[in-house]
């Protein structure tokens, strides 16, 4: 790296240090036209895994309009917030949420630590390895498993457990780490927004501490930018008198549905300028995003590519009973309100980085 005179840093250095913003965000209103948005100025396509179309143009247009003071919809850098659902929006959520796989995989260790659970349901069924029986476990049993595997330990031990698991666990279809099943086109959107001064947040129904364990490495999202389902935390001292924080089996906020805008207010305190979701659990977040003044972007990812990923969203010509009426309702709302819909099949050139 070339050493520059003290006090000057190149954009490349800024980008490398995660402090990237466009020149347009660093200069006062009026002169930004000298500094067109970052990726375009370099003549590079900032979204190379996207086919040209309404969805891609909506993203490019949103960034252009909100970072150009002459557009009339300029958003000051401090207010640039973009929120992403995770499961089904930035990585695969089929056949089971990754966090649920983690919880099931943790059961043997929990039973080893508490052998009396071996003959207690639902732990007995999970230990049997009978996939069909496990898939049929009722919701109440699932919550028992979540409680036993997501709470009761310190936040440090939990983070270590997740980080160790996620480097070794493999998805059943692609036989790859879950962190490689992130959608390359969405990673490009996140990078593009960050390069233009947006802070990218996860707003996920998943556990906040779970997502924090890998969000930086897998997505470039720092831990403080994860708004997730929050459990209680209890401060105490260990036997050596050192402060520790323990995860409680108490729900503070179910960060799904109406909980998403509630969590956004608690954790961020601003209405996002952009939000991306894929299911009915994202409805209120998308509506809340669009409730802000000026230019706001709400987008919906549709799972309509059963060959390259999974086909379970609306708009597949399937009867409502096959796709879930609630997701269909959100799709219909998006269409009615003009929110750009992202078709995985039509809009994405490739879905995963490992595709050739």
């Amino acid at each position: 790296m070339k050493i520059r005179p003290e006090g000057e840093v190149s954009r490349r250095q800024l980008l490398q240090m995660g402090l990237a913003t466009t020149a347009a965000t660093l200069v006062p209103a009026g002169v930004e036209s000298l500094f067109p948005p970052q990726a375009l100025a370099q003549g590079q396509d900032p979204l190379p895994s996207w086919n040209d179309g309404v969805a891609k143009q909506a993203i490019l247009n949103f960034v252009r309009v909100t970072t150009s003071s002459s557009s009339g919809h300029f958003v000051p850098p401090a207010e640039r917030v973009a929120c992403f659902d995770q499961d089904g929006t930035t990585w695969v959520e089929q056949p089971m949420y990754t966090q649920v796989v983690f919880c099931l995989n943790r059961v043997p260790a929990v039973v080893k630590a508490k052998p009396e659970l071996a003959n207690v349901e639902p732990f007995k069924t999970v230990m049997s390895g009978d996939r069909a029986a496990i898939a049929k476990l009722p919701t109440a049993d699932l919550y028992k498993i979540l409680g036993a595997t997501l709470t009761g330990m310190t936040v440090d031990i939990f983070r270590d457990q997740v980080q160790q698991w996620i480097t070794t666990a493999r998805d059943p279809r692609w036989k790859k780490p879950f962190t490689e099943l992130t959608y390359q086109p969405m990673l490009e959107v996140m990078s593009y927004l960050r390069a233009n001064g947006y802070r990218t947040y996860f707003v996920t129904g998943g556990g906040q501490d779970f997502v924090r364990a890998y969000c930086d490495k897998a997505y470039g999202v720092p831990v403080e930018q994860v708004v997730g389902t929050m459990g209680g935390i209890t401060f105490s001292y260990n036997a050596s008198g050192k402060p520790i924080l323990t995860k409680d089996p108490k729900l503070l906020l179910n960060n799904d549905n109406a909980g998403k805008p509630e969590g956004i207010h608690l954790m961020i305190g601003r209405i996002p300028h952009a939000a991306f979701g894929n299911s009915i659990g994202d409805r209120q977040m998308l509506e809340y995003t669009k409730s802000g003044d000026g230019e706001r972007l709400a987008m919906l990812v549709i799972h309509d590519d059963k060959d390259r990923e999974y086909g379970y969203g609306p708009a597949l010509g399937l009867p409502a009973s096959k796709i879930g009426t609630f997701t269909q309702a959100l799709y219909d709302e998006a269409k009615a309100k003009g929110w750009p819909v992202i078709s995985m099949k039509k809009d994405w050139k490739r879905i995963f980085a490992f595709e050739t």
Copy 2:
């Protein structure tokens, strides 16, 4: 402003845009000695309102050590978090917390909207204007007033109420807006830390939404960096179908005492590298901060200057019964553990910016 070639920004531009960091934080390990910490490099004292002494040197040393890769205690920019208590640490908390003054001042409007409260305690006493009687209201009555004035409205209306009030309300002693009763030396510490890549957070027992209404203007702290006492938030739609968020009379987290490290984990997810407090409510935050590895700074502001501010902290030679045994206990802990104590009388050249 001189227009530089695209892709280059000067440090001054960075500073002006609030994206300041030292050059030392922007270059890889090994070359940082070419870029000594920001303020010192310019030959300016970054803490001009501080007298030289142990407290000032502790702050300067902390920044030097954690931003110099050769120190062995370099902290990557993404991990630089500094937490500040507000009441009594960055602004005056006597004779009453500012938020409590706001709540009392809001009572007439609440009674006007609900006239049936005029003859109901504690509203009747507050409406009487009898200061002595108001000061004697029991805690349960105070909570009724907090509930009636801090909840039940949308987050937007509440923010507007606080912002309107705080521009007009005056402190009884100095007859100045409360936002001018911020401690100039602490504002300098916050700016100095930010100029060196630290994100400065409030970690306050005060209401999160209350502090968010003025934190940016008064302290340069953005709304997402306020960890405060959190109430429930409910998402719904107004009569026009627009999403709204309403403040509930439900406590999610009492961000005081053990609640401070719990709130830090929920909102930030990192152990701070520096924390500043002044009362027993800050004890666990300071202990938690020191529990992290490497260089960590925990500092305690002592109110020992009754002429320029108030004298109510420990170390005044007063009997414990006069100063509160719990605050004395924290002072003793700080001394025993070597946490630098800040004497307002000895360490601060001036307390307020309006002093000549």
